[in-house]
């Protein structure tokens, strides 16, 4: 471990602290662990253990009524035969495919607009961030009303600009998911905007001045300085956004409850229904595993792409 901490040691004035006899080396371990332990106990019991337990559970038949039994891949077979699983998998992917790029584009756009020194920008930042501190229940309820097909303001506006047959939004199987995505982008954009703003601040302004002297236009500056400079932030935002997308639950449960029909049913909702409502713990854990593999797989792919881009 001395190898990994070498830079920190170099900064310190030499010998006094390390002058302690080597025999008492158990003490730092105990002290170190005593700091971690209060948090780690809770973390291990409620996060690490369930994660490992969940993996085993997906290969077991476990319900509130019978004894647990090892069943191999039976849960997975049942899952693959279940049409709702495929629909939920498709809906989750659909939601992610809409939510991730839209949220990233909107939040990056806002960050670029607000990354200035103009008086009053602080006000706008606050305003754009406000949706993020609003609870999802309130967000869902309000957007449900805004999207009301007959007399909601959204459709009134659409009719005003000349759309004669505006969509039914949450009461239509085709338009329910877009409605959910709009509401979720509205809610999340402020959070990622803050991350992008922090990223923009790490790009040295001299780069822009130099580019301006060389006659680069705004688009060239964005493409050749801003985007490459933001790469670590974009990577982080992409990962966070992916995890958040694949586990969407609250907004859908309150806004559409998976409906109409099964049009917006997502994986995490299915896990809840099968596991906690129906008591099919094994089957629910199998679906959980799929969700985990999806998120982990996506994260690893992004990580590899990021590494290759950095190497270039």
């Amino acid at each position: 471990m001395t190898v990994t901490t070498a830079p920190a040691l170099r900064k310190r004035r030499p010998p006094e602290p390390t002058a302690r006899p080597r025999r008492r080396s158990l003490r730092p371990i105990l002290v170190g662990w005593s700091f971690i332990l209060p948090n780690f106990l809770g973390f291990a019991l409620l996060t690490l253990v369930p994660m490992v337990f969940g993996l085993a559970l997906s290969f077991m038949d476990w319900s509130p009524w019978g004894d647990p039994e090892w069943v191999g891949f039976e849960n997975f077979e049942r899952m693959f035969r279940n049409s709702t699983f495929w629909i939920a998998l498709w809906n989750t992917t659909y939601y992610a495919a809409g939510h991730i790029p839209l949220t990233m584009a909107v939040s990056l756009g806002l960050a670029l607009l607000l990354n200035g020194t103009l008086a009053g920008l602080g006000f706008f930042r606050t305003a754009f961030f406000l949706p993020y501190v609003t609870s999802l229940v309130a967000v869902a309820v309000v957007w449900n009303m805004l999207f009301n097909p007959t007399s909601g303001p959204v459709n009134q506006f659409l009719q005003f600009v000349g759309v004669t047959d505006p969509p039914g939004w949450t009461s239509s199987t085709a338009w329910a998911m877009p409605a959910v995505i709009v509401a979720s982008v509205w809610r999340d954009m402020g959070y990622y905007m803050v991350l992008f703003l922090a990223g923009l601040q790490t790009i040295p302004t001299e780069l822009y001045e130099a580019a301006r002297v060389d006659g680069a236009n705004a688009w060239q500056r964005f493409w050749n300085i801003t985007l490459p400079g933001l790469r670590p932030t974009t990577f982080f935002v992409l990962i966070m956004c992916t995890v958040a997308s694949f586990k969407v639950f609250d907004l859908i449960v309150v806004m559409t409850d998976g409906g109409p029909g099964r049009a917006t049913k997502v994986l995490s909702q299915l896990i809840y229904e099968e596991g906690i409502r129906e008591g099919r713990f094994g089957l629910a854990s199998a679906i959980s595993l799929v969700l985990f593999v999806l998120v982990a797989g996506f994260t690893v792919i992004q990580f590899l792409i990021q590494r290759r881009q950095e190497a270039r």
């Binding site: 309820v141 959980s288 969700l291």
Partner: protein
Amino acid sequence: MTANLTAPVTPKPDPPRPATPARVRTVVYSALLTVLCLLVLVPFVWMISSSLKHDNQVFTVPTQWIPREFVWSNYADIWTQIPMLAYLRNSAFLAVVISFLQVITGSFAAYGFAKLRFPGRDWLFLAYLATIAVPWQAYMIPQYLIMEQVGLVDTHLSIILLQAFGAFGVFLMRQYYQSIPDELIEAARIDGLSEYRIWWRIMLPLSRPAIASLGLLTFVSTWNDYMGPFIYLTSNELWTVQLGLRSFVGQYDAAYAMIMTGSVISVLPVVLVFLLGQRQFIQGIATSGLKG
């Protein structure tokens, strides 16, 4: 990211100068920002204005953005329609207890991770980091079974245990502690302070901004959490504001005005907390994302 809420929305007019392209651009830019901002705030305007109407005035063609008649009685009636006060109390209790525990255990562990050296430390931290990217839904079933085994389902304690030991708090505090120079701690050690006193007397006071960030972030996310209480709390008297609001919507789905009144009341505390601690709040998010 200053809390400059009273600042004018549009820039002050500059001393008379010929209309250069730069000035035109500033005007267009300010106008664009204002329009976007109004658009983003529409749901809030709808929420507040509907909460001050009668049910049958909420959906009108065209929409009345300012109620013709202000129905303030909604804000008096909601307390008897649903046990709103009990819900608010439960939410506040959970949010305060969880934020407190998260800050204490998180900063304690972060000191171990940031300033002490012992074998296994880096592996342990990696375990913490890895779980941040795992969605909760992936292990909520086994977690529920464990809670059920120890008889904690349908208690506030289950929600507290669920959220008070998150990896995020450890991560955020560690980021901050790493910016505090080692020399400071080394000097305290030479003065004979134990590690625990260094944490209590030096690190905690120095990390006040990070503590504020973590506390605020935890408070808001606990207050707004729906899924945890939804799964664990079945007794009405334990419900949080979010559960109460959701159940109200389910029971009286045509009581539009009252639903919006409830929404405003449920959102108001966190918006106030956010506006007061805006700087720390935003700083917390920005730091957690810097070296992600």
